[in-house]
């Protein structure tokens, strides 16, 4: 005779442990939310002071950055950051996608894995090293261009763009390659069966089908390019003037560490203000990424 065991929960301790664990994990989960909330609050609080002081428009659109004379205009820096990021992404995206196609479709297995390992290494290298190499090799190389253009030799927007391209290529390549690899094989087969050449099949069917993945890679690359500070500071010359390709420029990100050590009072708050402007830029890009992923996702279903 089987003894029927009651299914009503006898032991109270078991449910207590469960509830505690539930709370613990909830707290862990909320850690990230709390961090973002605190970060947003403190970025706004610390950065807002200067913006309130100098007025949003004068701060964002002012041409002159002269903390000594309490003139805090960061338009040149905003434009420099935008141009540097745009320049880097416009170069890195096509190059990245072409190399991603090479890795995903055209290269023999062993070569692809070797290159992928190297590209991972490129992604892992600290940005300071890029700054060092840029300052020693890239900037002097650009002197000739500057001399030809009748400009003094110095760090430049071009140097910043080249460094940013090298830094965001790994991100764009790896995300694009994953996207290309995840496109179902039979699309390409169908294209081949219709008589398209290998490249036609890849660039007319597979790559367009991987569009949302590639766009996500682009947005991630843009985020990284806008956020880079150290390497850019070491190669761009850090002159707070309106950006020109072969002249020294100061990007928003570089403006913070360059004056940090010796800034105090209003000047330090101005650096917080720059941080806040960057923070808003990044949040916009993140929202953009989420839209792209959502839209991209829907299209693939």
């Amino acid at each position: 005779m089987t003894n029927k065991t009651s299914i009503l929960s006898g032991r109270r301790t078991k449910s207590l442990v469960e509830r505690i664990m539930n709370i613990i994990f909830l707290v862990c989960g909320l850690a990230s939310v709390v961090s973002v909330v605190f970060m947003t609050v403190y970025m706004v609080v610390s950065g807002g002071a200067i913006i309130a002081e100098t007025g949003v428009f004068r701060f964002l659109l002012g041409h002159v950055w002269n903390p000594g004379g309490s003139e805090f205009g960061i338009l040149p820096m905003i434009l420099s950051s935008v141009l540097a990021t745009l320049g880097a992404v416009l170069i890195a995206l096509p190059v990245g996608v072409l190399i991603a196609v090479f890795l995903a479709k055209l290269s023999p297995g062993k070569l692809a894995t070797a290159m992928r390992a190297f590209i991972d290494l490129l992604a892992g290298i600290p940005s300071v090293i890029y700054g060092l190499l840029g300052a020693l090799l890239l900037v002097p190389a650009i002197f000739k261009l500057q001399a030809a253009a009748g400009l003094p030799n110095s760090g430049s927007l071009l140097a910043a763009i080249v460094i940013l391209v090298i830094m965001i290529l790994p991100t764009i390549i790896s995300v694009s390659e994953t996207a290309i690899r995840s496109v179902p094989k039979q699309y390409e087969e169908a294209a081949l069966a219709l008589g398209s050449t290998r490249l036609q099949a890849i660039f007319k069917v597979t790559v367009p089908a991987a569009k949302s993945g590639i766009v996500a890679g682009m947005v991630l690359g843009t985020g990284r390019a806008i956020g880079e500070a150290m390497a850019v500071m070491m190669v761009s010359g850090n002159a707070a003037i309106m950006p020109e390709l072969l002249r020294p420029v100061r990007l928003l990100t570089a403006a913070i560490p360059i004056e940090w050590a010796y800034s105090s009072g209003l000047h330090r708050q101005a650096l917080y203000g720059i941080g806040l402007v960057l923070f808003v830029f990044i949040m916009v890009i993140n929202l953009l990424l989420r839209q792209v992923m959502k839209k991209g996702g829907a299209q693939d279903e």
């Binding site: 039979q186 169908a190 081949l192 069966a193 219709l194 008589g195 007319k204 693939d300």
Partner: protein, 252 residues
Amino acid sequence: MTPVKMHTRALNLFYGEVHALKGVDLDMPEQCVTALIGPSGCGKSTFLKTLNRMNDTIASVRISGEVVLDGEDIYAKNVDVTTLRKKAGMVFQSPNPFPMSIYDNIAYGPRIHGEKKRIVLDEIVEQSLRDAAIWDEVKDRLKKPALGLSGGQQQRLCIARSLATKPEVLLMDEPTSALDPISTSKIEELIDELKRDYSIVIVTHNMQQAARISDYTAFFLLGEVVEHNTTGDVFSNPKDRRTEDYITGRFG
């Protein structure tokens, strides 16, 4: 005997060590449906894929012997594979429309072969969809994504897509095995009409289908053609005992 559109002589194929096709000699007459039947793994799909060299995309494949289309050996050095595949269109087992609109799916073939003019493309798209007997169901949503269509509609779309490249041969790899009975019968009626204009080679598991729509049938077993004759003869009085066992369902 009707003229032969494609034939193979002493065709052997190796996947690495596996000897998938063993000395296959097969004639495929013009404007007829040749059905390839046989147990799974007998090499009928592999054979079909040699006819438009789709096997080339597989790394470890070695092919010997002759495959001739309109008198030309398709494995000759100077053959342009893209023209070959344009001439011998293929429809796959599971429908694989591109993740594009219905219009772009059909227009894909002509576009890659150089056709750019809009009015010509519109005409080709309409004609191909009519030929694939799906025009009425999609004519007012050509811009919608093709992935929104049902399984049967998608397969007919893929057929229309092949027709748009103006092939002369249609290679069909179990086109209806992933479809419901109603869609299957629609495809079979379509094949019946298409054979007036195209030479069709179809791989199928479904012997009733082979009997219904094919003029000739070849029975494959372990990479060899055991018997090849008119469909009537193969099904009513098979010469080889193995064919008889297969079509009466005793094995395989």
